[in-house]
Symmetry: D2
Subunit: 343 residues, 4 copies
């Protein structure tokens, strides 16, 4: 329920009502605005009705939240959420390119790859240290050593960095090294992991599951949000369909739909989302055009030598050209490429 | 097989080789270029090998066509095909908006709807007269009467018109009224219908089937092309997936992929392809950004009264705003909105 | 609407009410039962309400038909429909195996293949003469010559035969040769073809489209039924999913669901539905177990030489073993293998 | 690689070769058979080739393992694996029914539900204590209290019990209460969880992810197996498709396919797999017919009061009838319902 207080209501009135909400074990939300105080109550709506809050003298009106996701919906917050990621911001009019290799492989590799993405305009670097691989016999990542190398490269080139978290027990470890946690597709509904990262204030890049509906994706975001971490970035990365021409079917409809229904920023990963090189640039342009707030791009200083996913990573020349080609569309969308932080 | 002749080869040499190809019952193709003559041979490649054409003194090289679709592939023709539709052109740098109601309903309705799409920048009008409806109890279209009304409205507002053909027996009838035949999703693999329209020179707007792979779509185009009608426009209109948030999942990856592999122009129908109003404009922008040559938009002068699909048709105000919003992206894509023909 | 008349109502009362239904341009249905006369009215239910039929003295009650398909639903007919196919019957307790090659290829091939399926227990033979092929360069069938060969083989071995119809113009031609028309997956929503075969009394084997929902499938059946041909057999043949281990994903849930919601008989085609040989027998057993009334099996006297689909056709030894293995499940399902007709 | 030793080879020879395999950091497998010793080497096959093991005097032949999953494949072990679950066995000719409510809700509920499933023939009980729910606002399970109640009910009715594990940190806790761990669909690719349970000897019931391919499912099993836990039961529970008539599309093709390619036992969960009550019995029969080794059925003594999934749980009368109806198919499949263990 969304409870809009009258203009003359004070914070004391609000506290009074929030206490009532809490007294019946619903979750109270306090959302002071510039003109009005708005309150929320999450949980069984029948219980709330028993409180008869609409009759309170300081309540202007009470309306239900129609979507199953509550706090991440535009019903409860109409303006866009901006997420701080290192010294850069995602959401609003600034468009963020996060780029880097699939995995940290060596000091040389992560340094070179970070340098190249920085040089050609990315504002953040990404690379995996704990790699969730389909086969137990595939390269599983450099683990903590990889995190150290990533942090070191990111610091050298003054970029914030993001890496995937795959275990509730890694929260503390990873917090020392990265500026944002990526929740991968396979863990989108690993609810204990969502709760664990929800108890931090580290920005979360939440990737859509391979066959997750948008409702499930936003409910996964709600798991994080309801634990208290509101720094959530949604990432569309392709879904499974019958089509075999591409690795995944990048679903840009999801971008337009989520921007319409949720206040969270949305970025797109075409490198995994469609997964074949000649389509990365056109699909990135399309992502920008339909409202995305950023892109996540696989780039590697030497893709031929990559231990994972080399066939879809852009090399330096390709990444430079990619950045040039997307700029007119960022402009057409009324946004600007986010500036690289400087000290 | 693609057979590239030497620079000094003459048309007589070409005819000699084509005769050999024909003698083993393969389909010969004659493709004179500005510098070289290129020949093609379609059919069982083992048969062709028995001819040992590579040894012919005037043959420079012979290479196989790797894709299953042949004549519509970029392997056999690297430059874009332009399709003439009335006095306008699809393909190349000119971007075409086709708009109109789902079905012709009345003289007043088709006149008003045609007027509004013309007035705000569409270069062609569309409306159905034979409607393939899921239920036998739904409105099935005005049939020939509908075609007459459509033609009359199109002439009054000097726009070319397109309408769906659903029966091989309608080819002659429909040729009298429309400038292009639409093959709908449900008939994408109605091969006798493809062959029938392939025997005309009427432009064909071929819609992707609801779960057709891109290979199947291009092979459907190949059916038309191989009958002799090269005026084919491919239309992406959404596929079936598990996602329930939209009617269909518009697959823009297909646009980028087909533009990469085939020389045919590609347009996008977001009105059916995603099917919910607030997503039509963002997905149209995205379609432009990833390389589409045009859009097909449902517009109706009075959507509330529409007999079919009214909930997704844009009204005049919405269509005007839609046209305004897509223009910066047409520009960013380096294209121009195709001009409306004048007499 | 379903209109149940009182026990004392006469046929004259029924005619009186049917005339009223017809007067407002709804479709009247007359369904005399052993105890009561039941009437139906199809079309816009608001129009029907204006007649106030519930107030007629001979009407016991009026209830809406909830499903979008009407005449094929169990709401309007609770008992199973039996379809006569040559001298054999589909539906009820008799289980029918239809078998044969994908296509008629030669006199020898169709004779040998028909002999083998007859010898090992099939009660009907199938083979294609007009083949809808994905590529225009693939074998398209022997056409009328193929139909002649099929009919001749079927007569020699005293089996009814079925073959696919792909064009409204072939209805008369095919009626001379076959005992049932197959509507293939690609034509499930070729509505003019459905209407054309609906105007005959030839049994129709209607295959589910590759991504047709069950509702669409039953509405396709409704197209045929509402034209007057009630001899419809539904065929589940696999749907498109993300899974690449098999050609199609045979959806046996559809069999159980349709048997629950419709009175029409349902058969299963595992040869196309899953499409890999070691799975044909287990999936056939499963089809029987979940309620199918028959199977359609690809069998060929010499699969290695087959022009189409040889890799999934059973040879004589395999077909014999197949028939042996499915029998215990037909028995467990309380059915009997339908007897082969004799003269 | 599979390395078959000569008949005269001794265990010393085997150890010699295994040491070589280990020396190049490949994973060695020792698989003594009744007639021959078979060895395996997992990892980069090019490395193995450098050893030239085929030239060893005691090696009869060396062949590659073609599938990406190795130890769970039939290539490496042709006979069926039997898994001990409490005092009962899964796999081989004994057919196991596991039944119980979705979640433990109260002492009374789990006792009554366990009693009913035992009384009518189930050989194991299931119920969730940690529930992975799509929404953070839904009932999340009784946690350890639920495990205690489940164990107590299971002991009273002498049935082994299974419950879902959702966190690597719960392995020890859950081991005290349950006889098998269920890995749910959402965690099928939670690789750290797979590794953690792989380090126990507790039987694992591994459910297929909602859009997991069979290859991914078997690779998930390989994660567990390669850690040393070979007690794995695969569970098919429905996939995501476009069809909206059922909750999920139960994919029985997967059962037949996995039985063909892997030696692990396979069970089917139709309660979630198709998810609508009238289809549970027919789809269970079909599961038996296509080769499943067991079923997992939602049953509740009072479904109307269930906190989760009540609409698809069978009540006592329905469960009794269900057990009666499936028996003829277990018999037709040449199996017997596994006996309930007694002390």
């Amino acid at each position: 329920m969304i409870i809009v207080l009258k203009a003359e209501a004070t914070e004391t009135d609000a506290k009074d009502i929030l206490a009532k909400i809490e007294s019946v074990k619903l979750k109270p939300l306090f959302m002071p605005g510039t003109e009005r105080i708005v309150l929320g109550a999450l949980g069984d709506e029948r219980v709330l009705q028993s409180l008869n809050i609409g009759a309170h003298p300081m309540v202007e009106n009470v309306k239900p939240i129609l979507s199953s996701y509550k706090q991440v919906s535009r019903e409860i917050q109409s303006h866009d959420t901006l997420v701080q990621f290192g010294k850069t911001t995602i959401g609003g009019g600034s468009f963020l390119v996060i780029a880097g290799p699939c995995a940290v492989e060596s000091e040389e590799q992560i340094l070179q790859s970070t340098r190249l993405v920085k040089q050609h305009g990315a504002s953040a670097v990404k690379a995996g240290a704990f790699k969730p691989r389909t086969s137990p016999y595939s390269f599983q990542g450099l683990e903590e050593k990889g995190l150290k190398l990533l942090k070191s490269a990111a610091e050298q080139y003054q970029l914030p960095c993001v890496s995937e978290i795959i275990d509730t027990n890694h929260v503390e470890l990873m917090s020392q090294y990265v500026d944002a946690f990526q929740i991968g597709s396979r863990n989108m509904q690993n609810f204990n992991l969502l709760k664990a990262v929800g108890q931090t204030q580290v920005p979360i890049l939440l990737k859509r599951g391979m066959s997750a509906t948008i409702e499930e994706l936003l409910l996964a975001a709600e798991y994080i949000y309801s634990e208290g971490n509101t720094n959530i970035i949604i990432c569309e990365r392709g879904i499974r369909t019958f089509e075999k021409a591409y690795n995944n079917t990048l679903d840009l409809n999801a971008v337009a739909f989520i921007k319409n229904r949720s206040h969270l920023p949305v970025i797109v990963d075409p490198s995994h989302g469609v997964g074949i090189k000649p389509l990365i640039t056109p699909m990135s342009k399309a992502a920008i055009a339909c409202g995305a707030d950023g892109l996540m791009i696989e780039a590697h200083h030497n893709p031929q030598s990559a231990l994972t996913d080399g066939q879809r990573a852009l090399d330096e020349t390709e990444f430079e050209q990619f950045m040039d080609e997307i700029k007119p569309f960022i402009h057409a969308a009324g946004k600007t490429l986010s500036e690289q932080a400087s000290t």
